[in-house]
Symmetry: C2
Subunit: 113 residues, 2 copies
């Protein structure tokens, strides 16, 4: 369940073009045409990327005449941030603890000398 959501989210952001699109949308909503313009890929390719991002829940799309403005959503970013932060913190704690062990070893050396 949540597993699939995370898989889709990480897969979506594994592509540099899609990360660029997310970065662009963080500044404000934009249409596929506007999003395609700075990149050297076809509009159809961008459309596919947007579908991937939408399926991942990272963006939503509304309607304005022929245009389909894209909007960056926060919920999935929250999920991803929480996942990464969780294990980053644990790894960090283990790292600190290792430092503590090394420090105590140093102390023992000091005392021994």
């Amino acid at each position: 369940m949540t597993d699939n959501r995370l898989s889709r989210a990480f897969t979506a952001l594994a592509d540099p073009t899609r990360r660029d699109i997310v970065a662009r949308l963080a500044l404000g909503d934009a249409t596929p045409g506007q999003l395609a313009e700075p990149f050297d890929v076809s509009l159809q390719a961008v459309s596919k990327h947007l579908k991937v991002l939408e399926d991942a829940g990272l963006i939503s799309r509304s309607r304005d005449a022929q245009r389909r403005p894209c909007h960056l959503e926060t919920e999935v970013l929250d999920l991803m941030s929480a996942w990464v932060e969780r294990y980053r913190r644990r790894a960090e704690e283990r790292f600190q603890r290792l430092d503590a062990v090394l420090a105590s070893l140093d102390e023992e050396e000091e005392e021994a000398s």
Copy 2:
């Protein structure tokens, strides 16, 4: 550059098995054998997953006789967290601002009534 690092990192975590491995390693170092045991995939498959994680910089491997214990690294997790957090925060800010606009519209309605 950093682009490739992020791509490799997101790609690595796009796979549920690899996320499980990371979760396991957050509790402590483990050998490929120990990591393969709880999963219903071959040791070779796990070995491949570990190579992907290592190439992404998410884990490092040392040597202990025949064993190759795996260790979770924090640096790339830091990178990922920073990237996600950056855009999550921007999207959040834009969301708050939208709320503010809606609230001010409500106020105008109140005053008009």
